[in-house]
């Protein structure tokens, strides 16, 4: 198996951490991660051409099937680009040191995701999952800044409660059906589920659903995403947004859909969650002014699209017939969008990171004018922005369009409304992408005049992905073969892709657009007269850098008008915070009975620290207090008593009893 090479490269990349020098460590380990990711792509090709592979990797049962390679492709692509990029990017953190931590955590991160999507045992699935969570946690606090450490802690606690606990319980449920640690393969679980009582199925599905929703940031479990992606080094954020979220989709398909099965209502649930999430994520992204937080919210929104598409599939495929075909189309489009999102979102993160690398900030309000000095990065960001907004001929268009088609054709009001929301929020996506691009690269600012383009490695990392947005957009046939695990009846050849009579020919579109643009360009060849500074009403006192709209001001009126939406979101957030507050209060109240008041009675207990000042009370001590007092008195009254005395007494008593027992 080629997978061995990949894992080997990741292990080697982790071992590189033994080098003492920071720069050498991060460069070498990133490079090994890059090689490992390439091996993953090779593995995808192998499986795609010669069928599923089963085997054994260091004692871990492996099965790489049609579904696994979709996700291996995602991990490989994003991993390769981000790792290549990280070779230079990670220099940013030289002051922090501990390159070995990065080496181990980053390579483990990639390896664990690989393990999750290839392991054919639920135990190793869960283990890989935990490893993924842990290594991403370590990477999130890598910068050691207090705010980032806070974010990482919040992330890890959230993941523990919403992922680890449900996954463990689900694992236990699977075991309780099979009763053997070694046979928890997906196939066995599916067989056991087929005869399991409905309640067990429901419990299993519900537990896993919570875990996967939390990991892919579905509403209402999306609260951790923004800060986490902001805190992590940008190349890592790219992998988290590009690949880690998708792993949850793998879980949804492999562990829920394929083992427990699906039903119309379950699919409807997934689709509705997706529709809600794509609304919430996108509208929150619209308001954001920190590039990485904006991209994080955007990831939430785009994952909503993926879930919506898969939900359509889960709801309609069981119905069979025409609707079954529509469902398969929806699921196919969902997977396609998962791949596309991985590509353009990682690319956008890398561009934001490039800007951070040169300017030291990702605050959109402070940025601007970089299009002039960082041309290559700007163009990559433009490609990815257009792709994420679903502008043809980029890849985002095709998957989004197929998602709409499946929703519109679903013959269900709710799913159709979901498709409407998806189409609407595509405009929202366009809005924040325009803002993201405009605020970073638009205009011209003196402040950043001396900024230089980032090193070649980082550019290649961005362009691998940005180029793919166009390549896949124009030739979707390059990936549809791998992606079509649901056998959706899509019509496609080199020139076009479509479903039944709804077709689109990206190649033709590009040709027509190109010919027209160049033709019109030649017809109306631009002719420039003088050069002049932008017109500023003749002002002399104006700060030219600030003669613009900053990121905050772009859609202010719109945001005000839909303010009730944000207020609703904030209200939910406050409810959540309030719940945690009251749980803490309840705990403090309860715990106060487990402490003893030492010196100042009637002190109010406001925080945990107030309680920590007190002495801990043990129940048994309180119950046996009279006896202890008596012993104390006895100790004081009887002269010459020492600890040794007790030892002697005990020895005598025990010896006597043993002797008696032996003799009698």
């Amino acid at each position: 198996m080629i997978l061995e090479y990949a894992i080997g490269a990741f292990i080697l990349g982790g071992l590189v951490g033994l080098l003492r020098d920071y720069k050498a460590t991060v460069k070498a380990s990133s490079f090994m991660a890059f090689l490992g990711s390439l091996a993953l792509l090779w593995q995808v090709y192998e499986v795609y051409t010669s069928g599923p592979v089963s085997g054994d990797l260091f004692g871990i049962p492996i099965r790489i099937d049609d579904l696994s390679i979709v996700f291996l492709l995602i991990i490989g692509l994003v991993g390769a680009a981000a790792s290549l990029y990280a070779i230079n990017y990670m220099e940013l953190f030289e002051k922090v040191g501990k390159g070995w931590v990065y080496a181990i955590a980053y390579n483990t991160f990639l390896a664990s995701m690989t393990l999750i999507v290839t392991a054919d045992s639920m135990e190793y699935f869960v283990m890989g999952w935990e490893l993924m969570t842990l290594s991403s946690f370590v990477l999130v606090f890598f910068s050691e800044k207090a705010r980032d450490v806070n974010a990482s802690v919040k992330y890890y606690i959230t993941m523990h409660f919403l992922d680890t606990i449900p996954l463990f319980l689900a694992l236990g449920t699977a075991y309780s059906l099979i009763g053997n640690f070694e046979e928890l393969t997906f196939e066995n679980i599916a067989n056991a589920m087929a005869t399991a009582p409905a309640s067990t199925k429901a419990v299993f599905t519900a537990l896993l659903m919570v875990a996967f929703m939390a990991k892919s940031g579905m509403v209402p479990f999306h609260f951790w995403v923004a800060e986490t992606y902001r805190a992590a080094p940008t190349s890592v954020s790219a992998v988290m947004a590009g690949a880690m979220e998708k792993v949850a989709i793998y879980g949804l398909i492999a562990l829920i859909w394929r083992t427990v099965g699906t039903s119309y209502n379950l699919g409807l649930f997934v689709a509705v969650i997706g529709a809600i999430t794509l609304t919430v994520g996108t509208l929150y992204a619209l308001r954001e002014t920190n590039a990485k937080r904006l991209l994080a919210y955007s990831s939430i929104g785009q994952m909503g699209y993926v879930w919506f598409g898969l939900g359509v599939g889960m709801a309609l495929i069981p119905k069979g017939g025409f609707l079954g075909a529509v469902g398969a189309l929806g699921a196919f489009a969902g997977l396609f969008h998962a791949l596309n999102h991985a590509i353009f979102k990682a690319s956008l993160f890398l561009s934001a990171g490039a800007v951070e690398y040169r300017t030291g900030t990702v605050e959109l309000n402070e940025l601007g004018g970089l299009g002039k000095t960082m041309k290559v990065t700007a163009l990559a960001a433009l490609f990815a922005s257009l792709a994420i907004s679903g502008v043809p001929p980029f890849n985002g268009f095709i998957s989004k369009w197929l998602i709409y088609v499946s929703g519109y054709y679903s013959d269900s009001y709710i799913l159709a409304l979901g498709a409407v929301l998806a189409a609407f929020l595509s405009a929202g996506t366009l809005a924040y992408s325009i803002k993201l691009y405009g605020a970073q690269f638009g205009g011209e600012m003196k402040r950043y005049e001396s900024v230089q383009e980032v090193p070649a490695g980082m550019l290649v990392g961005q362009w691998v992905l940005a180029g793919l947005t166009l390549l896949i957009g124009v030739f979707p046939g390059t990936v549809t073969g791998i992606l079509n695990v649901f056998n959706a009846p899509i019509n496609e050849n080199l020139y076009k892709i479509g479903f039944q009579s709804v077709m689109f020919s990206p190649v033709l579109f590009v040709i027509v657009l190109g010919v027209l643009t160049f033709g019109l360009y030649l017809v109306f060849k631009p002719e420039f007269g003088k050069e002049a500074k932008p017109w500023d009403c003749g002002s002399t006192q104006i700060d030219e850098d600030e003669y613009r709209i900053n990121a905050e001001g772009y859609y202010l009126k719109y945001e005000e008008k839909i303010g009730s939406f944000y207020r609703l979101g904030d209200w939910f957030y406050r409810v959540g915070a309030g719940a945690i507050h009251y749980i803490t209060r309840a705990y403090l109240w309860m715990a106060s009975y487990f402490t003893k008041i030492v010196d100042t009675p009637y002190t109010r207990i406001e925080t945990l620290d107030d309680l920590r000042e007190r002495e801990v009370m043990h129940i048994d001590e309180e119950v046996f207090k009279p006896l202890i007092r008596f012993l104390n008195i006895a100790k004081n009254v009887i002269p010459g008593i020492r600890l040794g005395t007790f030892v002697v007494i005990a020895l005598v008593v025990v010896g006597a009893i043993v002797g008696l027992l032996i003799v009698m």
Binding site: I434, F528, A532, P534, R548
Partner: protein, 305 residues
């Protein structure tokens, strides 16, 4: 229909796309003038204006390549949008005869307009771009939901299927009304020309454009308006004329499309002449209401009415 006829119709389509839009604007200007008891300019006036712009060199406020290319990309998108529509029964560019593609291609005109506005360091053009985006944000959901009704009513997103299968229901009538409104807003006619708003933000995204590049942009906007109107007219006409299988019938249908387009422009012009520009928040509010009306219409459509 034989190939020559097809070619002929396509050619007419191309001609209409390139030549008609400025004339339509001329008509609008004439109508507006008449409403204000003025004599008004000749019908060719918009063409003269464009020609003049084409002959002037542009002032260059930035080195950005996007600034130069955006007008051409916008114009190309608008032209493609227009050529995606049926002329008679012939679609000049068959790259996928479907609603969503049309929707996005028309959107691309705005995308390039906005990007162009953002390439220069000018608060007015930034403001204009942001306004354009906010209008899109409010009108796209409306269009999306109306497309939903059409798709459900006809059982397809393919334009030719929609045209062939639409059946008259109350919800469809309401859809037509709302669609007319949505397309009117999308076209950026008064009172919805907030993004360009000469008097407030001196042309918005276009404020730094001059000469030939400005002409190209104007041209793109006229063609986009034409395409949206032609789309609406086609939806009005084609479903009810029955199958078109002869060249003659196709020619008749094309004539009806053309006449209706020309006839509707004065209506638009009179709406423009009698309305003052709205504020952006007003538009947001109105469109949000229209969106909820759309949700109701979709529900009605799903109930089978």
């Amino acid at each position: 229909m034989e190939t020559t006829a097809k070619l002929a119709f396509s050619f007419i389509g191309v001609l209409l796309t390139f030549l008609l839009p400025p004339y339509l604007d001329g008509i609008a200007r004439r109508v507006k003038a008449r409403l204000q008891y003025r004599r008004g300019p000749p019908l060719m006036q918009t063409w003269y204006d464009l020609n003049k712009l084409f002959s002037l060199p542009s002032v260059k406020p930035t080195k950005s390549a996007l600034f130069t290319w955006a007008p051409y990309l916008a114009l190309a998108s608008a032209v493609i949008g227009a050529l995606l529509l049926p002329y008679g029964n012939v679609v000049p560019i068959d790259i996928g005869f479907n609603l969503v593609v049309f929707f996005y291609v028309i959107l691309m005109v705005s995308v390039f307009l906005m990007l162009a506005g953002l390439t220069v360091q000018n608060a007015f053009s930034h403001l204009g771009s942001a306004r354009e985006m906010q209008i899109i944000l409010t009108v796209e959901p409306l269009i999306a939901i109306l497309y939903g009704v059409l798709a459900y009513n006809a059982g397809s997103l393919n334009i030719s299927d929609i045209i062939a299968n639409l059946h008259l229901t109350p919800s469809l009538v309401m859809t037509y009304v709302l669609l007319a409104y949505a397309l009117y807003v999308e076209s950026g006619f008064m009172p919805f020309d907030i993004a360009e708003a000469e008097q407030e933000v001196i042309g918005g995204p276009l404020s730094e454009y001059s000469g030939r590049l400005l002409g190209v942009f104007y041209y793109a906007i006229y063609i986009k308006r034409f395409a949206l109107l032609w789309f609406f007219v086609s939806l009005l006409v084609l479903p009810w004329v029955g199958p078109i299988n002869t060249t003659l019938k196709a020619a008749e249908v094309l004539a009806v499309q053309f006449l209706l387009t020309v006839a509707l422009y004065p209506v638009i012009a009179s709406l423009e002449a009698t309305n003052a520009r709205l504020r952006i928040d007003h538009v947001v509010k109105m469109n949000t209401r229209a969106f909820f009306a759309g949700i109701v219409i979709l529900a009605i459509a799903f109930m089978g009415w």
